[in-house]
């Protein structure tokens, strides 16, 4: 019954764009990270060759420093590094609250309307996931424009294909996160629960990834977490596309994300049939 799937998705999207004020607020946190953190903590500027040396030595030293920095960050511009990392984090922040509408629908009795109808329980679940993917992608466009306005340095040769693939990758990430967070909210009746879960997980998930700092410097336990964190893998893909301007997407990262998407789908469909009552 795909008519029902689309109708339910459309409802979510409509309700979202009718709350324009709320949309503005979703940009505040990522904007702070970009404008305040990304710009003011431009720590890569700290590593400058001393000026009191002969000019050709200054140049050589600076080249060495830059090559070290590029090896770690992939760019000499820290803002670009943080911005490309915040793209995925922004998707996470949006997807974390995707279970909220379900909780409200349960509270207000709207869910019962769906449950007495012949619509499949999986459809109810999938419509929320789909709506979150669409929502996060549209919101991401706003963030991307802000990042460009703030002076993100896209790599040479970044064209429409790179941007398109970035979108697809972020849609995949939105899919993974929303299907996980919606699955967690299938039985929940208190919206406080969703907020607590989101607040508990948002910063740890962001810091335990290579969003604002490369994982090479991390202690080994944190590095392990960062390597399992889908945000890190998405960042690898995004930075390959937008910073390096390359289409050679790291296959392990992509495969990891695809496997997560598959696992979360199977889990979500199973749980929605079981717990959506």
């Amino acid at each position: 019954m795909s008519g029902a799937l689309w109708a339910l998705t459309e409802r979510e999207i409509k309700k979202w764009y009718r709350r324009r004020i709320a949309i503005v607020f979703t940009f505040i946190t990522p904007l702070m990270w970009l404008a305040l953190f990304g710009k003011s903590f431009n720590l890569l500027n700290l590593f400058r060759a001393p000026d009191d040396l002969p000019p050709d030595i200054v140049r050589t030293v600076q080249e060495v420093i830059d090559s070290i920095i590029i090896r770690a960050f992939g760019t000499t511009d820290y803002f670009t590094y943080v911005a490309t990392g915040m793209f995925t984090v922004f998707i996470l922040f949006t997807s974390m609250f995707s279970g909220m509408s379900l909780i409200f629908d349960r509270r207000l009795g709207f869910l019962n309307r769906l449950l007495v109808s012949p619509v499949k329980r999986e459809t109810i679940y999938l419509s929320r996931v789909l709506a979150t993917v669409i929502r996060s992608i549209l919101q991401f466009t706003g963030l991307f424009i802000i990042a460009v306005a703030l002076g993100i340095n896209l790599g040479p040769g970044v064209g429409p294909i790179h941007i398109l693939l970035t979108y697809l990758n972020l849609a995949l990430v939105a899919y993974i996160f929303s299907s996980i967070f919606i699955s967690m909210m299938l039985r929940v009746t208190e919206h406080d629960t969703a907020i607590s879960v989101a607040n508990l997980l948002n910063l740890p998930l962001m810091f335990a990834s290579n969003s604002i700092f490369p994982e090479e410097q991390m202690p080994s336990w944190l590095k392990t977490v960062a390597l399992l964190n889908p945000i890190s893998h998405s960042n690898e893909v995004v930075r390959t596309l937008l910073v390096m301007g390359s289409l050679e997407i790291p296959m392990t990262s992509l495969a990891y994300l695809l496997v997560l998407a598959l696992v979360s789908t199977v889990m979500g469909l199973y749980l929605s049939r079981r717990y959506l009552r």
């Binding site: 008519g3 029902a4 339910l8 409802r11 709207f110 019962n112 769906l114 007495v116 109808s117 012949p118």
Partner: protein, 330 residues
């Protein structure tokens, strides 16, 4: 199976031990309006929730449209419509958006929904408001929209849970007309709950009176009213149980019962008997707190069956006539 609904020994015990439905059995014929009449907490919504596949029963069995609840829920869901007790249309959407969404849950095409929707909206007089956000509707408009949404897929069996709750007398009468029209036009079976006596009396072909999860009586309104004959005079005293009263010679006396400080006297004509009853009470030194006269009505049936009135404030808009008198002796 030609019955619309069959319920056998249905029981629902909620977590925490509340017995909401206790050994309930009844049958609903195809094409009839069957009413569940009972006070708050009687178990009406619980019964509807079981029959509409929302919650599983603790024990017993139920068939809706010939399908077994719990085993063939998908088939039941296709055959039924529910207008729930709470207003659950999405108030951030417009009337039409709600209707489209509802129709698409039942696999209807956009053009089918538009055609049906227009007809139903016109019937309930909501065409003008249908493009407005539901948030801007009055309670009565929302109830009517709920009805349209419950009918959009023309279910065989429609469940109405307190469809006129909180509406004024006029709007309720209008809604009854809509319900009657729907039944005759679409040839539907309607299962409804209410705690309004007059609603059950005027609208339902048959009524089950339910209290504390148990069915006290089932029948047509006339059959039920025949269970009680004559008027009921209820008098409460200020100073104790009127056990010493003698009611010999009261005109048209049938019988009486005393319950605490309350005496209930069944007589042929209430107006004629009341003064004599009061006199005989006063002559034995009882001081009177209140006098109440109840006509043969579902209210009285309910009172007789359960020993209490359905709800004080609801009794006021029933067909029974009620006199409250306070007397103080200096």
């Amino acid at each position: 199976m030609d019955k619309a609904i069959i319920v056998r020994n249905l029981r629902k015990v909620y977590e925490g031990g509340v017995v909401a439905v206790d050994d309930v059995s009844f049958e609903v014929e195809r094409g009839e309006i069957f009413g569940f009449l009972g006070p708050n907490g009687a178990g009406k919504t619980t019964t509807i929730n079981i029959l509409t596949t929302l919650i599983p029963p603790t024990s017993g069995e139920a068939y809706v449209g010939g399908y077994k609840v719990g085993d063939q829920d998908d088939k039941i869901r296709k055959a039924i419509g529910l207008v729930p007790q709470e207003l659950t249309a999405d108030d951030e959407l417009t009337g039409w958006e709600n209707i489209y969404l509802q129709g698409s849950l039942y696999g209807l095409s956009r053009s089918e929904i538009r055609r049906e929707g227009e007809e139903l909206l016109e019937m309930v007089g909501l065409e003008e408001a249908a493009d407005r956000l539901v948030r801007t509707y009055s309670g009565g408009m929302r109830r009517r929209l709920e009805l349209v949404m419950g009918l959009i897929h023309k279910p065989d069996i429609l469940f109405l849970d307190e469809p006129t709750l909180g509406l004024d007398v006029q709007t309720r009468a209008q809604l009854w007309n809509h319900i009657r029209r729907v039944r005759s036009e679409y040839d539907m079976t309607i299962f409804m709950t209410t705690h309004y006596m007059d609603e059950a009396d005027k609208l339902c072909d048959r009524i089950a009176i339910i209290d504390h999860g148990r069915i006290k009586a089932i029948g047509t309104p006339e059959e039920l009213k025949r269970m009680v004959e004559g008027d009921l005079v209820i008098i409460r005293t200020v100073n104790g149980s009127p056990l010493e009263v003698s009611l010999d010679g009261i005109p048209g006396l049938k019988d009486y019962t005393i319950d605490g400080s309350e005496i209930r006297v069944r007589v042929e004509e209430g107006e004629k008997a009341t003064p004599a009853i009061i006199e005989s009470l006063v002559s034995k030194g009882y001081r009177i707190r209140s006098v109440e006269l109840v006509r043969p009505s579902l209210e009285q049936v309910f009172l007789t069956l359960t020993g209490r009135s359905i709800r004080e404030e609801e009794a006021l808009d029933t067909i029974s006539y009620r006199v409250m008198m306070r007397r103080r002796r200096g």
